[in-house]
């Protein structure tokens, strides 16, 4: 009954990475004079902070390494590397080539960095599906990684955090989860942006909600349901982009998902919004834990704006490969708290000029 080309591709391996350091929300409240209840309103307890020697590239490397371990393939079999980020270390010079070189994937591969705010990693997955299904490549590596920037003292600082996720896309027969169908919905919406030489992004305040996040995720999910004939009840879990801990629950409610189907894939309350890794880390958390046979709805979102909705069916293979790399919970639990001063240094908010 399923004739979508996507169903010939799937997730052969997945990998997560979250840096070790955490900043408690109280530190931001204390420093910038926010009302005490602000973090609770966002449903975020603490956020991950990268070390000074980490960036989107190094985090993406570790996530990708974990994904390759789970896939159990020779890195040379990967013929496309997509690196989705909005915090690339170089404005010009691909991060994808450095990761591909360090992982032993080069030279016989495609490699490029993608940008679409928080949705670039998902575009990498969708491009990977296309390449695999067409037979142009055997395996594609899609990475979503960010050391998210936030203007100090802006409400965005509560959530903007660091983390990475990676997926090896390959033939469905070899997959731990198969893409049943996908649907993409994009428009020109000015909800969030960063100009070329600006250190921090700006956002359209209330504009980030209804016309951006909610309209596009709902557009993509409805498109997917119409295309497949599936209903909300057919999904065991739903993962949406997680800019805070509140929006994913709210968009789920608008679509008719009960909280019990959303909470298992919600990671932002514990690590913040990892931008390109956000929803895709939620999916990784589910792949770490769920039973074979479940159907998952995943809908990453990126400002600017757009969303991809995927219907994913988990296969028996998920249990075989799970133990080959550390689960997301390992990285979430392995933490060390820092104060705002160390956070400011690690995030290069304070910098020594020589």
């Amino acid at each position: 009954m399923n004739v979508n080309p996507e169903s010939r591709a799937g997730i052969v391996g997945w990998g997560a990475y979250v840096p070790k350091y955490r900043l408690r929300m109280e530190e931001i409240v204390r420093l910038w004079g926010f009302p005490e209840g602000t973090p609770k309103g966002l449903n975020v307890i603490e956020k991950s902070v990268d070390n000074l020697d980490e960036d989107a590239l190094t985090m993406g490397y570790e996530a990708a390494k974990n994904a390759i371990k789970r896939a159990g393939i020779d890195p040379k079999e990967i013929q496309a590397v997509f690196f989705g980020t909005e915090s690339k270390p170089y404005a010009v010079k691909p991060s994808a080539t450095v990761i591909a070189q360090a992982l032993g994937i080069t030279p016989d591969t495609m490699a490029s960095d993608l940008e679409f705010a928080c949705r670039a990693g998902s575009e990498g997955i969708k491009s990977g599906i296309g390449l695999v299904v067409s037979g142009m490549v055997n395996y594609a590596l899609a990475i979503g990684s960010d050391t998210a920037q936030a203007n100090p003292g802006d409400v965005l600082e509560f959530t903007a955090s660091s983390g990475a996720v990676a997926y090896i896309i390959g033939p469905s027969e070899a997959s731990t989860a198969v893409f049943e169908a996908s649907y993409t919905y994009v428009t020109d919406t000015p909800d969030f942006w960063r100009r070329a030489n600006s250190p921090y992004p700006l956002h359209g305040e209330g504009f980030t909600g209804e016309p951006a996040y909610f309209a596009h995720i709902i557009g993509a999910v409805k498109g997917l349901l119409d295309k497949t004939g599936l209903t909300i009840n057919d999904f065991d879990y739903a993962v949406f982009h997680q800019p805070n801990g509140r929006f994913p629950i709210k968009v789920g409610e608008k679509l008719g998902f009960p909280r019990e189907k959303i909470l298992p894939g919600l990671v932002t309350p514990y690590i913040g919004n990892t931008y390109n890794a956000s929803a895709l880390l939620g999916l990784a958390k589910l792949l770490d834990t769920v039973e074979p046979g479940v159907r998952i709805l995943v809908a990453p979102f990126g400002s600017g704006a757009g969303s991809d909705a995927y219907s994913i069916l988990v296969t028996d293979k998920v249990e075989e490969v799970r133990e080959r790399a550390p689960p997301l919970s390992y990285y979430i639990d392995n933490k060390e708290y820092v104060d705002y001063a160390i956070y400011a240094k690690n995030r290069r908010i304070i910098m020594k000029i020589r």
Binding site: L52, D53, E54, E62, Q101, A102, G104, E336
Partner: protein, 140 residues
């Protein structure tokens, strides 16, 4: 790590990115950094050696006096690390508890990190460091 020479770094990128050393096919010893001839027996009959991801600390030290590119990272931890048949002097990162994490025989795992930057406009030099390892149930 080399001085900030782009061509030199590029030539040795496999040694930096993958910590690939050399194994002498005559005396069977392994060494890092890679050289054209074996520092023990002089043989030029060598093959690449990729070390395992996990190893253990042989000895460690802490530097407060560092060159300019490293000032923000102060203090810097260095360790002589045993990785399979290879021994390498590596920078340690993510050290949060000296007493618990740093001692002879303590487990470490290799990570890919920024080593240094050529100012704010030049190249970023990436390479391998080691971090204190947690006992992972899933680790083989």
């Amino acid at each position: 790590m080399e001085s900030l020479s782009i061509s030199r770094f590029w030539r040795y990128r496999r040694a930096h990115y993958r910590l690939t050393g050399k194994k002498c096919l005559r005396c069977e010893r392994v060494f890092y950094p890679p050289k054209r001839s074996c520092p023990y027996c002089g043989s030029m009959d060598l093959e690449d050696y990729d070390p395992p991801e996990r190893g253990e600390i042989i000895a460690w030290t802490k530097l407060y006096e560092t060159g300019t590119p490293y000032t923000p990272y102060r203090p810097i931890y260095l360790a002589l690390v045993k990785l399979g048949d290879m021994t390498a002097l590596l920078q340690l990162t993510d050290v949060t508890d000296e007493k618990k994490q740093l001692r002879k025989g303590a487990p470490v795992e290799l990570v890919f990190r920024r080593i240094k930057e050529d100012g704010s406009h030049g190249l970023i030099y990436y390479g391998i460091k080691a971090r204190p390892a947690q006992p992972i149930e899933t680790q083989e």
